[in-house]
C-alpha cells in the first residue's frame, strides 16, 4: 500500500516535472551542440540576454534596498498602528493575485503614450512604455512582495531586544543595524534577493505587454523564447529556454541550500 503511493508519487513527479525538462534538452540538442551555441550567439539572443540582465540587476537592487527598509517599517513602524498596518499588508500582497498580463496592462493604462502621465514623461524625453523603464516597473510590480514576505516573518520572530541591547551599550542606529540586525537577517535577505532575481529573470507576461517585444531593443530572454516558438524556430527557442532553465535550477539549488542556512541562523540559540 505504502510502496504503491511512493511509486505513484515518483511517477507523477517524473511525468510532470522531469519529463518536460528532458523534453527541452532533447529539443535543444536535436541538431547538436553547435546549433545550441549558434542559437545563443545570435545578436538578438545576446541582446535579449543583456536586456534581461539589466532588468534583473535594477529590480533586485531596488527591491533589496527598499524591501529591507519597508519590512523594518512594516514590522516596527509605530505610525502603522491600528488599521493602517493590515491595509498595507494586504496591499503588499496584491501583486500576487494579479495576472502578469494584467500587470502589464496596468502600466500601459497609467504610462502609455495616450495617458496624461505617459504624455508628460514622453515630453521630458523619458519613454516608459515600450522601453526599459516600463519593463523594470512591470517586473518590480510582479516581484515586489517577495522580499517583504521573506523578511517580515524573520524580523517579527527576531524581536527587538538584541537591537535594544546594542543601544543600551551606546551603539548608534547605523552600527546597530550593521553589527547586530544585519548578521541576523543576512540569509533571509539573500534568500529574498535570489527569489526576486529568479522571478525577475522569468517574468514574461507583464514584460511582453509593456515591452512590445521589439527585437534588439526591448526583447528579453523570455519574450525571445516566446517569439522563437511562435515562429516555429524550435531549436533556437529550446536553446535559450535551456539556458534560462539551467539558471533557474541553479537558483533553485542555491535557494534550497540557503533555506537551511537561514533556518539555522534564526534558530541558533
Amino acid at each position: 500500500m505504502r510502496s504503491l503511493f511512493i511509486l505513484l508519487t515518483v511517477l507523477l513527479f517524473v511525468l510532470i516535472l522531469v519529463l518536460p525538462f528532458l523534453g527541452i534538452l532533447a529539443g535543444a540538442g536535436a541538431e547538436g551542440f553547435a546549433a545550441i551555441y549558434e542559437a545563443l550567439m545570435r545578436p538578438e539572443s545576446l541582446h535579449a540576454l543583456q536586456v534581461s540582465f539589466i532588468i534583473v540587476l535594477i529590480v533586485t537592487l531596488c527591491n533589496g534596498v527598499l524591501g529591507i527598509l519597508f519590512s523594518l517599517q512594516m514590522v516596527r513602524g509605530p505610525w502603522l498602528a491600528g488599521w493602517l498596518r493590515p491595509l498595507l499588508n494586504a496591499i503588499v500582497d496584491l501583486p500576487f493575485a494579479v495576472s502578469p498580463v494584467i500587470g502589464g496592462l496596468m502600466i500601459i493604462l497609467l504610462f502609455g503614450p495616450n495617458t496624461l502621465l505617459g504624455a508628460f514623461f514622453e515630453n521630458v524625453g523619458f519613454k516608459i512604455v515600450f522601453a526599459l523603464p516600463g519593463m523594470v516597473m512591470a517586473t518590480i510590480f510582479v516581484t515586489f512582495p517577495l522580499m517583504i514576505r521573506e523578511l517580515v516573518p524573520v524580523l517579527t520572530e527576531l524581536g527587538q531586544t538584541a537591537e535594544e541591547a546594542s543601544a543600551t551599550l551606546g551603539a548608534g542606529p547605523i552600527r546597530t543595524f550593521f553589527r547586530v540586525t544585519w548578521p541576523s537577517i543576512r540569509w533571509a535577505v539573500y534568500y529574498g534577493l535570489a527569489l526576486t532575481a529568479a522571478r525577475a529573470i522569468g517574468e514574461f507576461g507583464a514584460v511582453l505587454v509593456v515591452s512590445g517585444n521589439i527585437v534588439k531593443q526591448t526583447q528579453t530572454a523570455t519574450t525571445l523564447v516566446y517569439q522563437d516558438s511562435i515562429d516555429q524556430n524550435l531549436v533556437a527557442a529550446n536553446s535559450v529556454a535551456l539556458l534560462l532553465g539551467l539558471i533557474s535550477i541553479v537558483i533553485l539549488l542555491f535557494l534550497e541550500w540557503m533555506k537551511k542556512r537561514k533556518e539555522d541562523q534564526l534558530h541558533a540559540h
Partner: protein, 373 residues
C-alpha cells in the same frame, strides 16, 4: 547614581501601564522593583533606560533631567530578560561590544574583557558562541556585557526568570556579591518576592502602574502600607467575615452589621498565630477555641489549618520541635497581631490580653532600616 522619578506615566493606547509613579533611589543601592506580572515594572525600567519614552513625568539622574537623552548616552547597563546576547558574536565579542562602541584601545578592551570573564568565572569560554553556553552562563555573559563599559546605573529585567530554580538561587547570591563589589546603583525587576527579599537593599512595590510602597524588605513585611502589599508580600490569612477576637476590642469599630465596613480588610500573618493544645493550662486563658482540620509536613515545618469556633479557617506553621498536632485536636488559638486596612486608617493591632508580656518582633538596629520612609 542618585535617581529620582516624578509622576511617571506611560500609556499604550488607552491602557496606562505606568500611572504616576514616583520614587527616589540612593546612590549605590540595590533596589528591587517587585510586583505582580503586568504591573508596569518593566515599563518603568525601560523608561529609566531610555528604551521607552514616558508619556508624561520626569526622570532625573543625579538631579539632571534625562528624558531627552537617548539610550545610547544615558550611561546605563541593561540586562534583558532573555539575555539578548548577540547570537553571531563570540562571548569575547559580546562583552567587548560596548567598549568598541566607546572606541577604546584594543589593549584596554582585552584587559577589561578578560578581567570581567575572570570575575564571572567564565575564563576560557571567550571563543564560544552563546548557543554553546548553558542558561546560567549566558546570564553571566549578559551581565558582564552590561558591566563592561562601567555603567553608573545597572538595570536588570527579570534577570533570573529564564533559569532553572536550582541555578537561580546560586546566581542570586553571586549577583548580590558582585554588585556589592562594584558599588553600582542597581535596579532589578522581579515578580518573585523571595528573590527580591534575598537580593535587594530596598524594595519598591509596584502594582497597576503605581508605587505601593518603598522600603527595606523588613519594613515592608512588617509594616505593609496597603492591603495589597500585605497580601502580596509574605503569606496572610485574610479575615473575610468580621469576628470578635479576644484581645482585639478595636476591631468592632470596623464592623458594619455582619460585614466589615466598606473597603476594610484584615490580615493575620501565619507566624502571628500560636497554637496550643487545650490541655496546657497556662495558655488556655486568652486563646480562641479551635479545632485542627488539616496537617501536613512541609519539610521545615508543619502546615496546619485550624477552624475557629465561628467557622473561620486559618492556616499557620508549627515548628517541628514543638509537639505535633493532629487533625481533630482541639486547640487554643492565640493571635498576637493583625493588620487592619480601612479607608480611614491603617493599623497594626497587638493582642491586648497579653500586653507587655511579649512582642512578636524584635526590630533590628535603625541603621539597617535607613532606606524606609
Amino acid at each position: 547614581m542618585h535617581i529620582e522619578v516624578r509622576d511617571l506615566v506611560k500609556t499604550f493606547g488607552d491602557v496606562a501601564a505606568v500611572n504616576k509613579a514616583s520614587f527616589q533611589i540612593q546612590n549605590g543601592h540595590l533596589v528591587g522593583l517587585l510586583g505582580p506580572s503586568g504591573g508596569g515594572k518593566t515599563s518603568i525600567l525601560r523608561m529609566l533606560a531610555g528604551l521607552e519614552q514616558p508619556t508624561a513625568g520626569e526622570i532625573y539622574f543625579d538631579g539632571k533631567l534625562v528624558n531627552p537623552i537617548p539610550v545610547q548616552d544615558r550611561g546605563i547597563g541593561f540586562v534583558f530578560q532573555h539575555y539578548a546576547l548577540f547570537k553571531h558574536m563570540t562571548v569575547f565579542e559580546n562583552v567587548a561590544y560596548g567598549l568598541k562602541v566607546k572606541k577604546q584601545k584594543r589593549q584596554a578592551i582585552n584587559e577589561r574583557v578578560y578581567e570581567l570573564l575572570q570575575l564571572i568565572g567564565l575564563e576560557g569560554t571567550e571563543n564560544k558562541y552563546p548557543h554553546q553556553l548553558s542558561g546560567g552562563q549566558r546570564q553571566r555573559v549578559a551581565f558582564a556585557r552590561a558591566l563592561a563599559p562601567k555603567p553608573r546605573l545597572l538595570l536588570l529585567d527579570e534577570p533570573f526568570a529564564a533559569i532553572d530554580a536550582k541555578v537561580r538561587k546560586e546566581l542570586r547570591l553571586w549577583l548580590r556579591n558582585l554588585i556589592n563589589q562594584f558599588g553600582t546603583t542597581t535596579i532589578f525587576v522581579t515578580h518573585d518576592q523571595d528573590e527580591a527579599m534575598e537580593v535587594a537593599d530596598d524594595l519598591i512595590i509596584v502594582q497597576k502602574g503605581r508605587v505601593e510602597q518603598q522600603g527595606a524588605p523588613w519594613d515592608i513585611y512588617n509594616h505593609p502600607a496597603s492591603a495589597f502589599v500585605a497580601s502580596f508580600i509574605g503569606e496572610s490569612n485574610k479575615l473575610k467575615a468580621p469576628v470578635a477576637l479576644q484581645g482585639f476590642p478595636e476591631l468592632s469599630a470596623y464592623r458594619a452589621g455582619g460585614e466589615w465596613q466598606e473597603g476594610t480588610q484584615v490580615f493575620i500573618r501565619p507566624e502571628a498565630i500560636e497554637l496550643r493544645a487545650t490541655h496546657h493550662p497556662q495558655t488556655a486563658e486568652a486563646g480562641e477555641p479551635g479545632k485542627i482540620t488539616h496537617v501536613h509536613f512541609r519539610g521545615d515545618a508543619w502546615y496546619v489549618e485550624v477552624e475557629l469556633a465561628g467557622g473561620m479557617t486559618l492556616f499557620t506553621y508549627q515548628p517541628l520541635h514543638q509537639e505535633a498536632l493532629q487533625a481533630g485536636d482541639s486547640v487554643s488559638v492565640f493571635i498576637q497581631q493583625l493588620f487592619v486596612f480601612a479607608p480611614s486608617d491603617i493599623r497594626i493591632l497587638e493582642n491586648r490580653s497579653r500586653k507587655g508580656q511579649r512582642r512578636l518582633y524584635v526590630y533590628p538596629t535603625t541603621e539597617k532600616r535607613s532606606g524606609s520612609k
